[in-house]
């Protein structure tokens, strides 16, 4: 592996990634590097390929052609759980809790299966409670996942992702359908996670949140990158505005 001496090596490197469904190209030749510690915003209108792209990163979809490198390792053909163990975690656009379990058990699955080093059950419980406290869910630890409110579900998804000890966290519209105060709550959470040395890719429709959060923003339309840069640069971009306002 050769590394550019001046810039830090990218944490995640996507090279010419393409994903087709039958005749439909959902992601079209996308290349992008994500730097360690970055807060990366991913925007684009509905159906522009955002979720498909992160499905390719997390391994839910196989890509062909295209390469995904994580910490200089080619993970293109790895199964999702292997990627999780290497440090890629994600939340889902529509929350996917383990419905038959409590909140604590949801997190324990991630701790049991994705934890890097062997730690005792007691330690894992401590870690779990730590994450829940950080997320403001400590009081709900023994509640059934099905009894959570929408915002609690979103938080639990993030907490479960955090329990895998990620280096890269992908948050897929974690604020959709929340009230503005709840949006702020979740946004603050993500900010605090980012300050704990976790790289975050945030997919979001709520523009203020993206603007406030991101170091860098990428906009997709019809599977292609149409803009990339600082939040204000991207928002000023003519094509982005067209894509959002519609033609």
């Amino acid at each position: 592996m050769t590394m550019a001496p001046e810039a830090p090596a990218p944490l995640l490197r996507i090279v010419s990634l393409t994903k087709r469904f039958g005749g439909f190209t959902a992601v079209d030749n996308v290349s992008v590097d994500i730097r360690p510690g970055e807060r990366f915003g991913l925007i684009g209108p509905n159906g522009s390929g955002k979720t498909t792209l992160i499905n390719c990163i997390s391994g839910a979809f196989r890509t062909e052609p295209g390469t995904v490198l994580f910490r200089d390792e080619d993970i293109t053909s790895l199964q999702p759980h292997m990627r999780t163990r290497r440090g890629i975690a994600r939340s889902f656009q529509i929350p996917r809790p383990f419905r038959s379990m409590t909140v604590a058990e949801n997190l324990m699955v991630a701790l049991d299966f994705a934890a890097h080093e062997h730690v005792s059950v007691a330690q894992r419980r401590d870690t779990m409670m730590g994450i829940l406290t950080q997320m403001g869910l400590a009081s709900k630890a023994n509640a059934a996942a099905t009894q959570l409110s929408q915002v609690e579900l979103r938080k639990m998804e993030l907490a479960r992702a955090m329990a895998t000890h990620p280096k890269l966290l992908i948050s897929d519209e974690a604020m959709a359908g929340l009230s503005s105060s709840e949006v702020d709550e979740v946004l603050d959470l993500l900010m605090s996670l980012a300050s704990h040395d976790i790289t975050i890719i945030m997919i979001e429709h709520i523009m203020q949140a993206v603007m406030r959060f991101s170091d860098r923003v990428m906009c997709l339309d019809a599977g292609k990158i149409i803009a990339m840069g600082t939040p204000s640069e991207v928002m000023a971009n003519q094509r982005v505005q067209e894509a959002y306002l519609g033609t």
Binding site: Q79, P80, H81, F98, E105, V109, A161, T164
Partner: protein, 319 residues
Amino acid sequence: MKRSGAAFWIGAAAFLAVAFVMTKVIGNQYPFFAGYVILQFIALAVAWSILGGYAGYVNFGTSAFYGVGVYASVFLVKAFGAPLPVQILTAAAIGALMGFALGLLTLRMQGIFFSIATIALTIIIETVVTNWRYVGGAAGIQIQRPPVTAPFDNYVQLLFFIQAVLVVLAVAISRYIQNSWIGRGLQALKDDELAAECSGVPTLRLKLLACVISGALLCAVGAPGAMYLQYADPSSAFNLNYSVSTLAMSLIGGTAHWIGPVIGAIVLSTTQQLLTVTISSEVNVLVLGVMLVLFVVGAPEGIIGLARRIFHRSNEGRE
């Protein structure tokens, strides 16, 4: 945890001891004939729910595994005169292989598609056995039992005890899985396969494991069936009844805990045995149908779910 483990093994040992003592003190053969059938269904239901209950993959092919177990024994007896333990172990090995194949199916299919694929598999295997003249083909085959070995003085008692051992084995494995990381992983993938993967659960490996264990046990349980009947024919060995009964027993008992299929199998197969020797007519089939409908409608979590709810309610009442 530790204490309940000790209690479980004491219970299991006591169960086997009772089964053994029964073969010594009861001279009447009927309890062993009927008991064998009940034990067989307990083992089948427990084995089935390792895949069907914990992992949520509904296998309609119980009769395929059972039938293959029976015919593995028939073949071994006819070709080599193999003794019963060899029959059971070989059947388990074949069952594990079949389970592995079934596990590969889960790569591409979920939900009812998986179930339909297992039906297809059953019909294919039954057709192959039906056309296999060496083991009798469609005409069926009569098999001679070897002389019974000590400490038993009757072959049916021996089979009864062996089936009791298989029950303990199946329950012990099921219990171990439930309490271990395997069980939590299966439960997670049952709830949501993608979310489980993204939480680090190796879903494919766990599904294969569940399929292999479940398949090996189902076949092993079928193996002594050849010696029990001393006769085998494809339409009896691959009877749809095994698939439906096993499914019904697991659902009626509840699949969230290993005790569920045990209870369900005891309730349903005892009822069936009793009905056979009491009402004994088409009403028998009617009872199975009505019980199935009543339980899935009225007690979605099975008997253990019902028990839990009642327990909770009485607790709340006291507080």
